[in-house]
Symmetry: C2
Subunit: 403 residues, 2 copies
């Protein structure tokens, strides 16, 4: 196992109670952080002897690898023309035929496995280059047993590929209603619930349901999430995004890891989430597109932990830069830079129940990002600041900041 | 002069009354567009004989080079710590000493000419890589005669550098009050007005004043802008951004090319702008940071032409991607994709009174961008979509989209 030292870190955002350490050093042993110090401190003798390389961060900012806690990356085709038409005020009705999730389901089902994988891998590389080392990745554009399972297996196969961000795989068969269900949401929810054990076998670690007006009811979502939980999947919920239908309360009830979007969350919901230990995963790009922002003050007041997601999806949002999401969270949601960066690191780890990441401390995964700046405020200033270097499991992968 | 053909353009956003041309071909002769066609059409025989190269756009989207109509790129140092502190709710008063424009004035005055140029050039390269081929660039971080003139000369010297975007140089000595003016805004405005002829000699083409509460009054701004106009500089105005103080009305009165920000513009102002032919240059990133959006409906209703700017500056916003600004204009200001892209091309050209760009038609500058998408909706979807290739004056410069 290679031991190396990252020195002259002007500011190390640890994501822990230690906050920001100035003039820091980080010692990496294999895929883990072995030691963190500051000032003139040196690693313990047993580590120091083994140091094989030293990287000088030139006084710059280093953070944990960022964590994107809400994405929909497995799809084929695009809906860019639809995005333009919607921006001009056309409703889905006026847009006619091939729009919305059904349009992507059609192109995704029709795509060959190779094409689907190629598109997915290209996207995942963008995330990594932009400083994101863990991505929550949902299925949900097949909406049939075999397709949803194939998407789950594809994600699971890539989940530990060293050239890609690590993936946390979420089974989201309950994303929308497939055409062949002929309007029977109850029956499809029951079917999707019945696929849970297969999803767990295929490598999913979580299940999810789009619980909202026009999508799945609380009762249908509950059926899906409880079946998933019984199969060993951790529930997550698309909750109270379009209207207040009770998704956050359901997330608390079923012990979900995360309730997502929450554009219509109430103070009572926030208290339920806090009491149940459910993380609020906010997606500021989507909030801006919809024109509604969540009640962050209520979440703060209740003590809910916050994570951030790009909500990358083919229909509304192509973001793969969590530094941009941090900037949007500051500008659109009113989070402080500290809150937003914590949400994009430790908060994401909590949302995914992966406590080995999102922090820089002895024992955590050596997923690190060196930014071309001396202070974390640069992430809000930069609106998509690009890293100098990204390390995944202690291995450097190219950042993409220009010279 | 090299003649070359860009063929198989799936959609050509022309920025003209022709709108979007599908299945288009563009023939470039030297630094100009020579001919535009579609379908099976071919360039006229005299051009066709001279075609030395053919580039296949693979059915993709091509637009004019984007135009950033409002930037403050000549500065040294950063204020990232201040950005973070402000995001946590600290006021400038609580932040204490070195904050705001005065902090940047201190670091910029103290910087060596080489450092100042190196920082500027690095930023300008980011703009070009991201698809912006013309940048309006303001002085305003020296606030003394020699420094403002040196910044003007620096910008003028780089204005036609083939490795950078073209610059339109704006003299903005009336950006804030220097410490040595000891609170006397009247006297400093008079001084700055007196530097106008020197600014024109140094290569500025426009003058500007920050007309707002806490900055220059309408009377002080008028003095600066009229002196600039008398010296041959085209007025531009930071207008009604923080409060409604009459900046837009002043812009109309002095025949400004552009009134910028306009977060508090009224319908009556909009009618004045339209009647006087003043372009509204909107900066959606700044609007989001401040939390106030301009009355776009009033601008539309009055028939005001709209341009877009990043408002890149060291204190609040590091954006150098106009495709991100297009996405923010759609999400935060409610522009349609077509309106936003037109504002970022032809609208910018109008704002800068440079009618040779911002369009793809015979005679216009061959500043072109090939995007990794088939439809312009991708710019709203992508939140900072990066080009495949950027051409400036017919010469390809690397785009920075990943493979």
């Amino acid at each position: 196992m290679t031991v190396w030292l990252l020195r002259d870190v002007g500011r190390l955002f640890t994501g822990t109670g230690a906050g920001v350490i100035q003039d820091a050093l980080v010692c990496v042993d294999g895929d883990r952080v072995a030691w963190v110090g500051s000032g003139g401190a040196e690693p313990p003798e047993d580590l120091r002897r083994r140091v094989a390389d030293v990287v000088d961060a030139e006084g710059g900012l280093v953070t944990p690898g960022l964590i994107d806690a809400h994405t929909h990356p497995v799809y084929a085709g695009d809906r860019h023309a639809e995005v333009a038409a919607r921006s001009a005020g056309l409703s889905y009705g006026e847009l006619g035929g091939d729009t919305g999730i059904p349009a992507t389901v059609a192109t995704t089902r029709a795509a060959g496995a190779d094409d689907l994988e190629r598109g997915l891998v290209g996207r995942l590389r963008s995330w990594l280059r932009a400083g994101t080392t863990t991505v929550e990745a949902k299925t949900g554009y097949h909406l049939d047993h075999d397709g949803e399972l194939a998407a789950t297996r594809l994600l699971a196969r890539l989940a530990d590929d060293p050239s890609l961000p690590r993936l946390s795989v979420t089974f989201l068969a309950a994303h929308a209603l497939p055409a062949e269900a002929a309007g029977d949401w109850d029956a499809y929810a029951r079917q999707a619930a019945g696929w849970s054990a297969d999803a767990a076998d295929a490598g999913a670690v979580a299940c999810d349901a789009f619980c909202d007006t026009g999508y799945f009811t609380v009762a249908q979502s509950r059926e899906v999430l409880l079946a998933g939980r019984a199969a060993g999947l951790v529930p997550r919920v698309h909750a109270d995004e379009l209207e207040h239908t009770g998704g956050a309360a359901l997330a608390a009830e079923v012990g979900a890891a995360s309730a997502d979007h929450l554009l219509h969350v109430t103070p009572a919901d926030a208290r339920r989430l806090a009491a149940a230990g459910v993380v609020a995963t906010l997606c500021p790009g989507t909030a801006m597109s919809i024109g509604t922002t969540p009640d962050v003050a209520a979440l703060r007041a209740a003590g809910v932990h916050i994570a951030l997601g790009s909500d990358h999806n083919p229909g509304t949002c192509g973001i793969t830069s969590m530094s941009l999401v941090v900037a949007l969270a500051v500008a659109a949601l009113g989070l402080s830079v500290h809150e937003a960066l914590l949400a994009a690191t430790r908060g994401g780890a909590r949302s995914l129940r992966m406590e080995d990441r999102g922090t820089v401390r002895p024992g955590s995964l050596a997923d690190l990002v060196w930014w071309p700046a001396e202070h974390e405020g640069a992430l809000a200033w930069g609106w998509g600041l690009r890293p100098r270097t990204v390390w995944r499991a202690g291995e450097g992968v190219a950042g993409d900041a220009g010279p």
